[in-house]
Symmetry: C2
Subunit: 248 residues, 2 copies
Protein backbone atom coordinates (compact mmCIF):
# COMPACT_ATOMS: atom_id res chain seq x y z
CA UNK A 1 0.00 0.00 0.00
CA UNK A 2 1.27 3.45 -0.95
CA UNK A 3 0.36 6.61 0.96
CA UNK A 4 0.46 10.31 0.16
CA UNK A 5 1.00 12.43 3.26
CA UNK A 6 0.08 16.10 3.06
CA UNK A 7 1.02 18.80 5.53
CA UNK A 8 1.40 22.57 5.50
CA UNK A 9 5.10 22.21 6.33
CA UNK A 10 7.47 20.00 8.27
CA UNK A 11 5.08 19.24 11.16
CA UNK A 12 3.51 16.26 9.39
CA UNK A 13 6.79 14.40 9.86
CA UNK A 14 5.55 13.54 13.37
CA UNK A 15 2.77 11.58 11.65
CA UNK A 16 5.25 10.01 9.21
CA UNK A 17 7.26 8.90 12.23
CA UNK A 18 4.34 6.88 13.54
CA UNK A 19 3.69 5.43 10.06
CA UNK A 20 7.33 4.35 9.70
CA UNK A 21 7.51 2.89 13.20
CA UNK A 22 4.50 0.76 12.35
CA UNK A 23 5.69 -0.27 8.86
CA UNK A 24 2.23 0.21 7.32
CA UNK A 25 3.25 1.31 3.84
CA UNK A 26 5.64 0.23 1.11
CA UNK A 27 5.85 3.80 -0.15
CA UNK A 28 5.18 7.25 1.32
CA UNK A 29 5.07 10.44 -0.79
CA UNK A 30 5.31 13.41 1.57
CA UNK A 31 4.46 16.92 0.45
CA UNK A 32 4.90 19.94 2.73
CA UNK A 33 3.66 23.30 1.50
CA UNK A 34 6.62 25.04 3.09
CA UNK A 35 6.32 28.11 0.83
CA UNK A 36 2.95 28.97 2.37
CA UNK A 37 3.24 27.54 5.89
CA UNK A 38 1.65 28.09 8.40
CA UNK A 39 -1.95 27.27 7.46
CA UNK A 40 -3.17 27.59 11.05
CA UNK A 41 -3.54 31.37 10.84
CA UNK A 42 -5.30 31.32 7.44
CA UNK A 43 -9.00 31.22 6.63
CA UNK A 44 -11.08 28.38 5.25
CA UNK A 45 -11.15 29.46 1.59
CA UNK A 46 -7.39 29.79 1.45
CA UNK A 47 -6.82 26.44 3.18
CA UNK A 48 -9.21 24.69 0.74
CA UNK A 49 -7.52 26.28 -2.28
CA UNK A 50 -4.03 25.29 -1.14
CA UNK A 51 -5.21 21.76 -0.30
CA UNK A 52 -6.68 21.22 -3.77
CA UNK A 53 -3.39 22.37 -5.29
CA UNK A 54 -1.58 19.78 -3.17
CA UNK A 55 -4.03 17.13 -4.38
CA UNK A 56 -3.14 18.01 -7.99
CA UNK A 57 0.51 17.46 -7.12
CA UNK A 58 -0.19 14.02 -5.66
CA UNK A 59 -1.94 13.02 -8.89
CA UNK A 60 1.57 12.68 -10.37
CA UNK A 61 2.04 9.59 -8.20
CA UNK A 62 0.42 6.22 -7.93
CA UNK A 63 -0.90 6.25 -4.36
CA UNK A 64 -3.69 4.34 -2.65
CA UNK A 65 -4.64 6.70 0.15
CA UNK A 66 -4.21 10.37 1.08
CA UNK A 67 -3.35 11.04 4.71
CA UNK A 68 -3.87 14.62 5.75
CA UNK A 69 -1.45 15.21 8.61
CA UNK A 70 -2.34 18.88 9.03
CA UNK A 71 -5.09 19.58 11.54
CA UNK A 72 -6.12 22.84 9.84
CA UNK A 73 -6.63 21.02 6.53
CA UNK A 74 -8.40 18.16 8.33
CA UNK A 75 -10.73 20.72 9.90
CA UNK A 76 -11.63 22.60 6.73
CA UNK A 77 -10.82 20.84 3.49
CA UNK A 78 -11.54 17.09 3.75
CA UNK A 79 -14.90 17.27 1.93
CA UNK A 80 -13.45 19.25 -0.94
CA UNK A 81 -10.47 16.90 -1.19
CA UNK A 82 -12.77 13.87 -1.24
CA UNK A 83 -14.91 15.43 -3.95
CA UNK A 84 -11.85 15.71 -6.17
CA UNK A 85 -10.24 12.26 -5.90
CA UNK A 86 -11.24 8.63 -6.02
CA UNK A 87 -8.79 7.45 -3.35
CA UNK A 88 -9.71 7.54 0.37
CA UNK A 89 -8.77 10.74 2.19
CA UNK A 90 -8.29 10.52 5.93
CA UNK A 91 -7.61 13.33 8.37
CA UNK A 92 -6.29 13.53 11.89
CA UNK A 93 -9.44 14.77 13.64
CA UNK A 94 -11.63 11.67 13.32
CA UNK A 95 -8.72 9.43 14.23
CA UNK A 96 -7.74 11.62 17.19
CA UNK A 97 -11.26 11.59 18.56
CA UNK A 98 -11.42 7.81 18.09
CA UNK A 99 -8.14 7.43 19.99
CA UNK A 100 -9.47 9.53 22.83
CA UNK A 101 -12.61 7.40 22.99
CA UNK A 102 -10.46 4.30 23.36
CA UNK A 103 -8.42 5.78 26.18
CA UNK A 104 -10.99 7.80 28.14
CA UNK A 105 -14.20 6.02 29.03
CA UNK A 106 -15.84 8.40 31.51
CA UNK A 107 -17.93 11.01 29.70
CA UNK A 108 -17.43 13.34 32.68
CA UNK A 109 -13.67 13.53 32.13
CA UNK A 110 -12.15 16.94 31.54
CA UNK A 111 -10.89 17.00 27.97
CA UNK A 112 -8.61 19.73 26.64
CA UNK A 113 -8.20 20.34 22.91
CA UNK A 114 -5.26 22.48 21.80
CA UNK A 115 -4.39 23.54 18.27
CA UNK A 116 -3.82 26.45 15.90
CA UNK A 117 -6.35 29.28 15.58
CA UNK A 118 -7.81 27.70 12.43
CA UNK A 119 -8.28 24.27 14.02
CA UNK A 120 -9.79 25.62 17.23
CA UNK A 121 -12.07 28.11 15.40
CA UNK A 122 -13.41 25.26 13.29
CA UNK A 123 -14.66 23.63 16.51
CA UNK A 124 -14.42 20.24 14.80
CA UNK A 125 -12.82 18.39 17.70
CA UNK A 126 -15.33 19.77 20.22
CA UNK A 127 -18.30 18.91 17.99
CA UNK A 128 -17.06 15.35 17.43
CA UNK A 129 -16.47 14.91 21.17
CA UNK A 130 -19.94 16.29 21.93
CA UNK A 131 -21.41 13.77 19.54
CA UNK A 132 -19.78 11.05 21.62
CA UNK A 133 -21.41 12.55 24.76
CA UNK A 134 -18.27 13.96 26.37
CA UNK A 135 -19.54 16.80 28.51
CA UNK A 136 -16.52 18.77 29.71
CA UNK A 137 -14.49 20.02 26.79
CA UNK A 138 -12.18 23.03 26.80
CA UNK A 139 -10.64 24.24 23.52
CA UNK A 140 -7.68 26.60 23.49
CA UNK A 141 -5.82 28.02 20.48
CA UNK A 142 -2.16 27.66 21.45
CA UNK A 143 -0.61 29.03 18.29
CA UNK A 144 2.68 30.11 19.87
CA UNK A 145 3.68 26.49 20.47
CA UNK A 146 4.24 26.14 16.68
CA UNK A 147 7.01 28.75 16.21
CA UNK A 148 8.51 27.74 19.56
CA UNK A 149 8.89 24.13 18.36
CA UNK A 150 10.12 25.35 14.95
CA UNK A 151 12.78 27.36 16.81
CA UNK A 152 13.99 24.02 18.23
CA UNK A 153 12.78 24.80 21.74
CA UNK A 154 11.25 21.72 23.37
CA UNK A 155 11.57 22.65 27.07
CA UNK A 156 12.69 25.47 29.37
CA UNK A 157 11.61 28.93 30.38
CA UNK A 158 9.97 30.13 27.14
CA UNK A 159 7.86 27.00 26.84
CA UNK A 160 6.96 27.08 30.55
CA UNK A 161 5.87 30.71 30.49
CA UNK A 162 3.87 30.05 27.32
CA UNK A 163 2.13 27.03 28.91
CA UNK A 164 1.38 29.20 31.95
CA UNK A 165 -0.09 31.87 29.63
CA UNK A 166 -2.41 29.44 27.85
CA UNK A 167 -3.26 27.10 30.72
CA UNK A 168 -3.51 29.52 33.63
CA UNK A 169 -7.27 29.26 34.25
CA UNK A 170 -7.62 25.54 33.70
CA UNK A 171 -9.13 23.08 36.14
CA UNK A 172 -7.65 19.58 36.33
CA UNK A 173 -7.36 18.03 32.88
CA UNK A 174 -7.71 14.27 32.34
CA UNK A 175 -6.74 14.13 28.68
CA UNK A 176 -5.37 16.54 26.12
CA UNK A 177 -5.72 16.20 22.35
CA UNK A 178 -2.56 17.49 20.66
CA UNK A 179 -4.42 19.04 17.72
CA UNK A 180 -1.37 20.16 15.76
CA UNK A 181 1.43 18.11 14.23
CA UNK A 182 4.06 20.17 16.05
CA UNK A 183 2.83 19.38 19.52
CA UNK A 184 4.09 15.76 19.80
CA UNK A 185 7.57 17.28 20.11
CA UNK A 186 6.53 18.91 23.40
CA UNK A 187 4.12 16.12 24.40
CA UNK A 188 5.97 15.22 27.61
CA UNK A 189 6.24 18.83 28.76
CA UNK A 190 2.54 19.46 28.15
CA UNK A 191 1.51 16.28 29.93
CA UNK A 192 3.79 17.08 32.88
CA UNK A 193 2.46 20.65 33.13
CA UNK A 194 -1.10 19.31 33.17
CA UNK A 195 -0.38 16.90 36.04
CA UNK A 196 0.33 13.89 33.82
CA UNK A 197 -2.80 14.22 31.69
CA UNK A 198 -3.23 11.53 29.04
CA UNK A 199 -2.09 12.83 25.64
CA UNK A 200 -3.60 12.02 22.24
CA UNK A 201 -0.97 12.12 19.48
CA UNK A 202 -2.23 12.44 15.87
CA UNK A 203 0.40 10.11 14.46
CA UNK A 204 -0.32 7.23 16.82
CA UNK A 205 -4.05 7.85 16.48
CA UNK A 206 -3.90 7.65 12.71
CA UNK A 207 -1.95 4.38 12.84
CA UNK A 208 -4.67 2.82 14.99
CA UNK A 209 -7.33 4.23 12.66
CA UNK A 210 -5.61 2.80 9.58
CA UNK A 211 -5.30 -0.61 11.18
CA UNK A 212 -8.95 -0.64 12.21
CA UNK A 213 -10.72 1.03 9.30
CA UNK A 214 -8.43 0.18 6.40
CA UNK A 215 -7.15 -3.14 7.58
CA UNK A 216 -3.57 -1.91 7.38
CA UNK A 217 -1.20 -4.32 9.02
CA UNK A 218 2.49 -4.00 9.56
CA UNK A 219 4.07 -6.08 6.85
CA UNK A 220 6.50 -3.83 4.97
CA UNK A 221 10.04 -4.26 6.19
CA UNK A 222 11.16 -1.19 4.27
CA UNK A 223 9.30 1.95 3.36
CA UNK A 224 10.42 3.86 0.30
CA UNK A 225 9.88 7.49 1.23
CA UNK A 226 10.08 10.59 -0.97
CA UNK A 227 10.00 14.15 0.37
CA UNK A 228 8.69 17.11 -1.60
CA UNK A 229 8.28 20.73 -0.54
CA UNK A 230 6.96 23.84 -2.26
CA UNK A 231 10.06 25.65 -0.99
CA UNK A 232 13.46 24.66 0.30
CA UNK A 233 13.12 20.86 0.10
CA UNK A 234 16.63 20.52 1.56
CA UNK A 235 15.46 22.03 4.82
CA UNK A 236 12.55 19.56 4.93
CA UNK A 237 14.96 16.68 4.33
CA UNK A 238 17.26 17.94 7.08
CA UNK A 239 14.41 18.16 9.58
CA UNK A 240 13.33 14.66 8.49
CA UNK A 241 16.82 13.34 9.22
CA UNK A 242 16.61 14.70 12.77
CA UNK A 243 12.99 13.91 13.62
CA UNK A 244 13.00 10.50 11.91
CA UNK A 245 16.44 9.44 13.11
CA UNK A 246 16.93 5.68 12.86
CA UNK A 247 13.82 5.22 10.69
CA UNK A 248 15.06 6.37 7.27
CA UNK B 1 1.91 62.42 -3.57
CA UNK B 2 0.43 58.92 -3.43
CA UNK B 3 2.22 55.93 -1.93
CA UNK B 4 1.83 52.18 -2.23
CA UNK B 5 2.90 50.37 0.93
CA UNK B 6 3.68 46.67 0.66
CA UNK B 7 4.10 44.25 3.52
CA UNK B 8 3.83 40.49 4.02
CA UNK B 9 0.98 41.03 6.47
CA UNK B 10 -0.20 43.47 9.12
CA UNK B 11 3.27 44.42 10.42
CA UNK B 12 3.74 47.20 7.84
CA UNK B 13 1.05 49.17 9.65
CA UNK B 14 3.80 50.33 12.04
CA UNK B 15 5.37 52.04 9.01
CA UNK B 16 2.00 53.44 7.94
CA UNK B 17 1.65 54.87 11.44
CA UNK B 18 4.81 56.94 10.98
CA UNK B 19 3.67 58.03 7.49
CA UNK B 20 0.29 59.18 8.83
CA UNK B 21 1.77 60.96 11.84
CA UNK B 22 3.96 62.93 9.45
CA UNK B 23 1.21 63.65 6.88
CA UNK B 24 3.52 62.93 3.93
CA UNK B 25 0.96 61.55 1.47
CA UNK B 26 -2.48 62.43 0.16
CA UNK B 27 -3.19 58.76 -0.51
CA UNK B 28 -1.81 55.45 0.76
CA UNK B 29 -2.67 52.09 -0.82
CA UNK B 30 -1.67 49.35 1.63
CA UNK B 31 -1.40 45.72 0.56
CA UNK B 32 -0.62 42.95 3.06
CA UNK B 33 -0.04 39.44 1.68
CA UNK B 34 -1.85 37.94 4.66
CA UNK B 35 -2.61 34.67 2.83
CA UNK B 36 1.11 33.88 2.63
CA UNK B 37 2.53 35.63 5.69
CA UNK B 38 5.15 35.27 7.18
CA UNK B 39 7.82 35.91 4.54
CA UNK B 40 10.62 35.88 7.13
CA UNK B 41 10.94 32.10 7.11
CA UNK B 42 10.83 31.77 3.30
CA UNK B 43 13.69 31.71 0.80
CA UNK B 44 14.79 34.36 -1.66
CA UNK B 45 13.10 32.95 -4.78
CA UNK B 46 9.75 32.71 -3.07
CA UNK B 47 10.02 36.21 -1.60
CA UNK B 48 10.89 37.66 -5.03
CA UNK B 49 7.99 35.85 -6.70
CA UNK B 50 5.45 37.04 -4.11
CA UNK B 51 6.82 40.60 -4.29
CA UNK B 52 6.43 40.76 -8.07
CA UNK B 53 2.84 39.57 -7.70
CA UNK B 54 2.21 42.39 -5.22
CA UNK B 55 3.71 44.84 -7.70
CA UNK B 56 1.23 43.67 -10.34
CA UNK B 57 -1.58 44.37 -7.87
CA UNK B 58 -0.33 47.91 -7.28
CA UNK B 59 -0.37 48.56 -11.02
CA UNK B 60 -4.17 48.86 -10.64
CA UNK B 61 -3.60 52.15 -8.83
CA UNK B 62 -2.11 55.48 -9.68
CA UNK B 63 0.76 55.76 -7.20
CA UNK B 64 3.99 57.75 -7.23
CA UNK B 65 6.21 55.63 -5.01
CA UNK B 66 6.37 52.08 -3.66
CA UNK B 67 7.38 51.78 -0.03
CA UNK B 68 8.43 48.27 0.96
CA UNK B 69 7.69 48.03 4.69
CA UNK B 70 8.73 44.39 4.95
CA UNK B 71 12.37 43.85 5.89
CA UNK B 72 12.54 40.42 4.21
CA UNK B 73 11.35 41.91 0.91
CA UNK B 74 13.70 44.88 1.37
CA UNK B 75 16.54 42.42 1.87
CA UNK B 76 15.85 40.23 -1.15
CA UNK B 77 13.54 41.71 -3.77
CA UNK B 78 14.24 45.44 -4.24
CA UNK B 79 16.29 45.00 -7.41
CA UNK B 80 13.68 42.80 -9.03
CA UNK B 81 10.90 45.21 -8.05
CA UNK B 82 12.83 48.16 -9.46
CA UNK B 83 13.44 46.30 -12.72
CA UNK B 84 9.70 45.89 -13.16
CA UNK B 85 8.35 49.38 -12.49
CA UNK B 86 9.08 52.97 -13.39
CA UNK B 87 8.19 54.47 -9.98
CA UNK B 88 10.79 54.69 -7.20
CA UNK B 89 10.92 51.69 -4.85
CA UNK B 90 12.29 52.27 -1.37
CA UNK B 91 12.91 49.71 1.34
CA UNK B 92 13.46 49.87 5.07
CA UNK B 93 17.09 48.72 5.20
CA UNK B 94 18.79 51.73 3.57
CA UNK B 95 16.63 54.12 5.56
CA UNK B 96 17.25 52.22 8.82
CA UNK B 97 21.00 52.29 8.30
CA UNK B 98 20.83 56.01 7.46
CA UNK B 99 18.87 56.67 10.66
CA UNK B 100 21.44 54.79 12.70
CA UNK B 101 24.23 56.83 11.12
CA UNK B 102 22.44 60.02 12.19
CA UNK B 103 22.04 58.87 15.77
CA UNK B 104 25.28 56.96 16.44
CA UNK B 105 28.46 58.73 15.50
CA UNK B 106 31.14 56.54 17.11
CA UNK B 107 32.18 53.74 14.76
CA UNK B 108 33.23 51.71 17.82
CA UNK B 109 29.68 51.57 19.17
CA UNK B 110 28.14 48.16 19.69
CA UNK B 111 25.31 47.80 17.18
CA UNK B 112 22.74 45.02 17.38
CA UNK B 113 20.60 44.07 14.38
CA UNK B 114 17.54 41.91 15.02
CA UNK B 115 15.10 40.56 12.44
CA UNK B 116 13.53 37.46 10.95
CA UNK B 117 15.63 34.54 9.70
CA UNK B 118 15.36 35.80 6.11
CA UNK B 119 16.47 39.33 6.95
CA UNK B 120 19.37 38.25 9.15
CA UNK B 121 20.55 35.54 6.70
CA UNK B 122 20.65 38.15 3.94
CA UNK B 123 23.26 40.03 6.01
CA UNK B 124 22.14 43.26 4.31
CA UNK B 125 22.10 45.41 7.44
CA UNK B 126 25.53 44.21 8.56
CA UNK B 127 27.04 44.78 5.11
CA UNK B 128 25.61 48.30 4.88
CA UNK B 129 26.88 49.10 8.39
CA UNK B 130 30.30 47.70 7.51
CA UNK B 131 30.40 49.96 4.49
CA UNK B 132 29.91 52.89 6.84
CA UNK B 133 32.88 51.65 8.93
CA UNK B 134 30.94 50.47 11.97
CA UNK B 135 33.16 47.82 13.50
CA UNK B 136 31.11 46.06 16.17
CA UNK B 137 27.97 44.58 14.71
CA UNK B 138 26.02 41.66 16.10
CA UNK B 139 23.12 40.19 14.10
CA UNK B 140 20.56 37.91 15.72
CA UNK B 141 17.51 36.27 14.12
CA UNK B 142 14.77 36.79 16.69
CA UNK B 143 11.91 35.19 14.79
CA UNK B 144 9.82 34.33 17.84
CA UNK B 145 9.13 38.01 18.52
CA UNK B 146 6.83 38.03 15.46
CA UNK B 147 4.22 35.48 16.60
CA UNK B 148 4.49 36.81 20.16
CA UNK B 149 3.50 40.30 18.98
CA UNK B 150 0.82 38.82 16.69
CA UNK B 151 -0.58 37.04 19.77
CA UNK B 152 -1.04 40.52 21.29
CA UNK B 153 1.74 40.03 23.84
CA UNK B 154 3.79 43.22 24.26
CA UNK B 155 5.30 42.64 27.71
CA UNK B 156 5.51 40.07 30.51
CA UNK B 157 6.99 36.69 31.18
CA UNK B 158 6.90 35.16 27.68
CA UNK B 159 8.55 38.20 26.13
CA UNK B 160 11.12 38.44 28.92
CA UNK B 161 12.14 34.79 28.68
CA UNK B 162 12.35 35.11 24.89
CA UNK B 163 14.58 38.20 25.18
CA UNK B 164 16.74 36.30 27.68
CA UNK B 165 16.97 33.41 25.19
CA UNK B 166 18.09 35.62 22.30
CA UNK B 167 20.16 38.18 24.18
CA UNK B 168 21.86 36.02 26.81
CA UNK B 169 25.42 36.26 25.55
CA UNK B 170 25.40 39.91 24.56
CA UNK B 171 27.82 42.54 25.74
CA UNK B 172 26.55 46.09 26.29
CA UNK B 173 24.60 47.32 23.26
CA UNK B 174 24.57 51.00 22.28
CA UNK B 175 21.95 50.83 19.54
CA UNK B 176 19.58 48.22 18.18
CA UNK B 177 18.06 48.20 14.70
CA UNK B 178 14.50 46.83 14.86
CA UNK B 179 14.76 44.98 11.55
CA UNK B 180 11.17 43.77 11.41
CA UNK B 181 7.94 45.73 11.24
CA UNK B 182 6.53 43.92 14.27
CA UNK B 183 9.26 44.99 16.63
CA UNK B 184 8.23 48.66 17.16
CA UNK B 185 5.36 47.26 19.24
CA UNK B 186 7.88 45.92 21.75
CA UNK B 187 10.42 48.72 21.21
CA UNK B 188 10.32 49.95 24.82
CA UNK B 189 10.70 46.48 26.29
CA UNK B 190 13.67 45.70 24.03
CA UNK B 191 15.36 49.01 24.80
CA UNK B 192 14.81 48.53 28.55
CA UNK B 193 16.15 44.96 28.44
CA UNK B 194 19.28 46.22 26.64
CA UNK B 195 19.97 48.91 29.28
CA UNK B 196 18.21 51.71 27.40
CA UNK B 197 19.95 51.11 24.08
CA UNK B 198 18.98 53.54 21.30
CA UNK B 199 16.38 51.95 19.00
CA UNK B 200 16.04 52.40 15.24
CA UNK B 201 12.42 52.12 14.11
CA UNK B 202 11.79 51.43 10.38
CA UNK B 203 8.75 53.71 10.21
CA UNK B 204 10.46 56.76 11.65
CA UNK B 205 13.58 56.01 9.61
CA UNK B 206 11.63 55.87 6.38
CA UNK B 207 9.93 59.18 7.12
CA UNK B 208 13.32 60.87 7.53
CA UNK B 209 14.55 59.17 4.36
CA UNK B 210 11.52 60.36 2.36
CA UNK B 211 11.96 63.92 3.58
CA UNK B 212 15.65 63.93 2.74
CA UNK B 213 15.84 61.94 -0.50
CA UNK B 214 12.42 62.58 -2.00
CA UNK B 215 11.79 66.04 -0.69
CA UNK B 216 8.57 64.89 1.00
CA UNK B 217 7.24 67.52 3.34
CA UNK B 218 4.26 67.35 5.60
CA UNK B 219 1.52 69.19 3.81
CA UNK B 220 -1.44 66.86 3.54
CA UNK B 221 -3.97 67.49 6.28
CA UNK B 222 -5.82 64.29 5.45
CA UNK B 223 -4.56 61.04 4.04
CA UNK B 224 -6.98 58.88 2.08
CA UNK B 225 -5.98 55.32 2.97
CA UNK B 226 -7.15 52.05 1.45
CA UNK B 227 -6.34 48.62 2.91
CA UNK B 228 -6.09 45.46 0.83
CA UNK B 229 -5.13 41.94 1.90
CA UNK B 230 -4.74 38.65 0.05
CA UNK B 231 -6.81 37.05 2.81
CA UNK B 232 -9.18 38.25 5.50
CA UNK B 233 -9.07 42.02 4.81
CA UNK B 234 -11.45 42.56 7.75
CA UNK B 235 -8.81 41.35 10.15
CA UNK B 236 -6.26 43.74 8.61
CA UNK B 237 -8.73 46.62 8.99
CA UNK B 238 -9.39 45.69 12.61
CA UNK B 239 -5.69 45.62 13.43
CA UNK B 240 -5.33 48.97 11.64
CA UNK B 241 -8.09 50.44 13.84
CA UNK B 242 -6.16 49.40 16.96
CA UNK B 243 -2.58 50.17 15.86
CA UNK B 244 -3.49 53.42 14.07
CA UNK B 245 -5.95 54.67 16.68
CA UNK B 246 -6.58 58.41 16.33
CA UNK B 247 -4.89 58.56 12.92
CA UNK B 248 -7.60 57.14 10.62
Amino acid sequence: MRAAVFDSGVGGLTVVKSLLENKLFEEIIYFGDTARVPYGVKDKNTIVRYSLEALEFFKNFDVDILIVACNSVSAYALEELRANTTIPVIGVIDSGVKALENKISSKDSNILVIGTNATISSNRYALALNNLAYKNITSIATGLFVPIVEEGIYSGEILNSTMKHYFKNLQTIDAVILGCTHFPLIENEISKYLNDAVTIHSGDAIVDFLKLEYNCINKFEETNIKFFASENPDNLKNVAKIWLKGLL
